[in-house]
């Protein structure tokens, strides 16, 4: 299948390894991956901070850049959630029905990585090898906006050599919330403290998730407290093989 990668602005700029892992994984599974270079950001930060007028041009851009592709895959639950639940609605709010219809069409073809693998291609065993103790944070938008359910865990469960341990209080938010982390840093930090403690309690060497933004937050806390666990995106674990292992 020909797949357009929507890397997301955060991954493109700060976590390119996640996008590279996504490309490697999709190619290994036999898909043709393209990366439309005009892409930038879905506008989620603008929308969720209350600046829809500033998000509108980015929504328009998303539609222009990805309009022609059969499948768009993003290594992010929250960006996919924004495309699916906010883009058309925002376009309509500004009276642009044509944009709204186009955005709806793209939203129907845009998938978060685990959705694409499990729902579209029907694969749970991607042939990965990752001999480490891993705990998984499901992330709020994957869980409650996209309802990905157990798909990421099914994918991780099929990884050879992995020791998957349940994260206590997994469904609780890590406290990131975009600009919330800065506007309400005290509350955000209190939530992060509990999440970091839960990760430490598992004794896992890796905390994984389907969103680099949440991982940046959790990873920042793990690093500050020298917990000794690191963060890896779901795509990085699934991309890991015996011949090309992802270093931990």
């Amino acid at each position: 299948m020909k797949v357009a990668l929507f890397a997301t602005c955060l991954v493109d700029g700060l976590f390119p390894d996640v996008a590279r892992a996504t490309v490697r994984l999709l190619r290994r599974l036999g898909h043709e991956v393209v990366f439309p270079q005009q892409q930038s950001c879905c506008g989620q930060m603008h929308l969720n901070t209350g600046y829809p007028a500033q998000a509108l041009p980015l929504i328009r851009r998303q539609v222009e850049v990805f309009g022609e592709y059969e499948a768009v895959v993003a290594p992010s639950g929250s960006c996919t959630g924004s495309i699916r639940h906010q883009h058309a609605d925002t376009a309509r709010r500004f009276g642009d029905e044509r944009l709204a219809v186009a955005a709806e069409s793209i939203a129907a073809r845009t998938y978060e990585l685990s959705e694409f693998l499990v729902d579209v291609t029907g694969v749970t065993d991607v042939g990965a090898y990752f001999p480490h103790r891993v705990t998984y944070h499901p992330t709020c938008h994957s869980l409650r906006l996209l309802r990905v359910g157990a798909k990421p865990l099914a994918l991780l469960g099929a990884v050879e050599g992995i020791e998957l341990v349940e994260l206590p209080g997994a469904q609780s938010c890590c406290g990131f919330g975009g600009t919330f982390a800065m506007k309400n840093s005290a509350v955000s930090s209190a939530m992060l403290a509990d999440k970091v403690a839960a990760v430490a309690e598992t004794g896992a060497s890796v905390c994984s998730a389907g969103d680099s933004s949440c991982l940046m937050h959790i990873g920042g806390g793990l690093s500050r407290l020298r917990v000794g666990a690191r963060t890896l995106h779901l795509a990085q674990i699934l991309a890991s093989t015996r011949s090309e292992p992802v270093p931990v």
Binding site: G13, L14, P16, Q37, R144, Q171, G178, F180, N184, S223
Partner: protein, 489 residues
């Protein structure tokens, strides 16, 4: 979007506004370890109970959809349902009063109580009367109001504010409650222990006296049936039943959105409310009354219909669904923010996720500008809401309203608005965006990341990074952005 002509809840009366912005109030609350332990214990217990009893109901999602549809119908047709309710209540011997806002409602109730000659009233727990600050208004008129719900009594005796819709004293543990009773409750036994049964018994003895001697009661209402003029209160302790049946005069203060069209609609709501709020299949006491009945119960019944910003809320088509709320407080109990700050940080009697969307609409967004931002948008509230209020989407909409309100008052954009505009501009041009991503590796970001890893370095970082690095390190920058790697392939 304009809301001209729609009066919001007036300042200076009642409790819909805090004295400081949420982040500041939250910081104070977070420093209180006892409060956080009390909250964590209480919310996790209620959460588990609710989840268990909701899971028993096979058609829960259908019930939610039905409840939302019924409430939306009510909100769209208040112009016919409210006069219908007034007509039915009047036919059955009740008197209906219309209160534009808190000030008017307080004046009406004070006059009604004064007219009875009584200087004391017993109260059923009521959010509406907390919202308008009725107890204070009565006190100013020389009338003593006795709260009879156990938790509300604890709050009143402790000269405190409620911090939860359903469990107003959730921030107190039993030792603190014993201390409040010992110092504030007239006639309490000095050897009182903090055994919950002993505390309840002490409150029971104290309250029994009030029930038997007080001639006027004030209540709120969970529901009002337009078709029959019936009012309803659901409760757990029986204090409500006492207040609603023993006194000569009953005064009920109710928000105009509490209506249901017909009696059969209760089928939906009485399945949803107890399971969502207390985690019970059915609440212990359900009291209904229609007008007055000679020789049975209160012989005088007044219904005060309260607006206090509800019509203004109704005017916003993207915010009005907040008026579906049946005050179950399920959203508070699952909210990771509420769990850590408690209710007082929200400033309003309506705390938690529903408070963050309701309070700013009732007061106008300028007066509660920080509340729509008091959420990570994690969505747990929407999942449990029995009337399916999409709180996260509404929060995002209210953030937009707050930002627009701020922009309207100033010639220059706020630093945040300017930053957002700059980011949007940068992101919509391929060359400038690529340049920006590549420039991150030229050392600037690497330096910031390094600074975030030492206490001395962190002090050098400017906002908003300074608020990030308080508890998190910045990620190490990559050698190159993904797009560059791709282009080089």
């Amino acid at each position: 979007m304009t809301y001209l002509g729609m009066p919001t809840a007036p300042p200076g009366v009642g409790q819909l506004r805090g004295s400081e912005p949420f982040p500041d109030a939250a910081r104070t609350a977070l420093a209180d370890g006892q409060l956080r332990r009390n909250l964590a214990n209480a919310t996790s217990t209620i959460r588990a109970k609710r989840a268990a009893v909701v899971a028993e109901v096979e058609d829960w999602q259908e019930l939610r959809a039905a409840a939302a549809a019924i409430k939306d119908d009510v909100l769209a047709h208040l112009d016919s349902y409210l006069p219908q309710l007034e007509a039915r209540v009047t036919e059955r011997g009740g008197v209906v009063h219309w209160a534009r806002d808190a000030t008017e409602a307080n004046r009406i109730v004070t006059e009604l109580v004064t007219a009875t000659g009584s200087r004391e009233v017993v109260k059923v727990k009521s959010m509406a009367t907390q919202e308008i600050g009725l107890n204070q208004a009565l006190e100013e008129a020389g009338i003593l109001a006795f709260e009879t719900d156990l938790a509300e009594l604890i709050v009143q005796l402790g000269d405190d504010r409620p911090s939860h819709i359903l469990v107003p004293a959730i921030h107190r543990n039993r030792t603190e409650i014993r201390d409040i009773f010992l110092s504030e409750m007239a006639g309490v036994e000095p050897g009182l222990t903090d055994d919950p049964a002993a505390l309840a018994e002490a409150a029971r003895r104290y309250l029994r006296q009030k029930f038997l001697t007080t001639r006027v009661a004030i209540s709120g209402a969970n529901f009002a049936i337009a078709e029959t003029g019936t009012l309803m209160v659901v409760e757990s302790e029986g204090n409500g039943r006492m207040c609603l049946t023993l006194p000569d005069t009953l005064i009920t203060v109710m928000g105009i959105e509490k209506l249901l069209p017909s009696f059969t609609d209760l089928e939906v709501f009485l399945q949803l409310l107890p399971r969502s709020s207390t985690g019970e299949r059915m609440n212990p006491y359900t009291s209904m009354w229609t007008g007055v009945h000679p020789g049975d119960g209160p012989q005088e019944f007044h219904l005060v219909l309260l607006d206090n910003g509800r019509t203004a809320t109704l005017a916003d088509e993207r915010g009005r669904a907040a008026l579906r709320c049946i005050r179950c407080s399920a959203c508070l109990n699952v909210c990771p923010v509420y769990e850590r700050t408690g209710g007082h940080a929200y400033g309003s009697v309506y705390p938690g996720p529903i408070g963050a969307v309701l309070s700013p609409q009732l007061t106008g967004v300028a007066d509660n500008a920080s509340l729509p931002f008091a959420s990570t948008l994690c969505g747990a509230c929407y999942d449990v809401c029995p009337v399916a209020i999409d709180i996260p989407t509404m929060l995002v909409h209210l953030r937009d309203r707050v930002n627009q309100d701020k922009a309207a008052g100033h010639r220059l954009p706020t630093p945040e608005a300017a930053g957002m505009a700059a980011a949007s501009w940068a992101m919509r041009g391929q060359r400038r965006w690529t340049w920006l991503l590549r420039s991150a590796r030229l050392g600037r970001w690497a330096r910031l990341a390094r600074l975030s890893r030492s206490p001395a370095g962190r002090r050098l970082l400017p906002p908003p990074l300074s608020s990030w690095v308080g508890s998190r390190d910045l990620p190490e920058p990559p050698a190159q952005p993904f797009r560059q790697w791709w282009a080089e392939q």
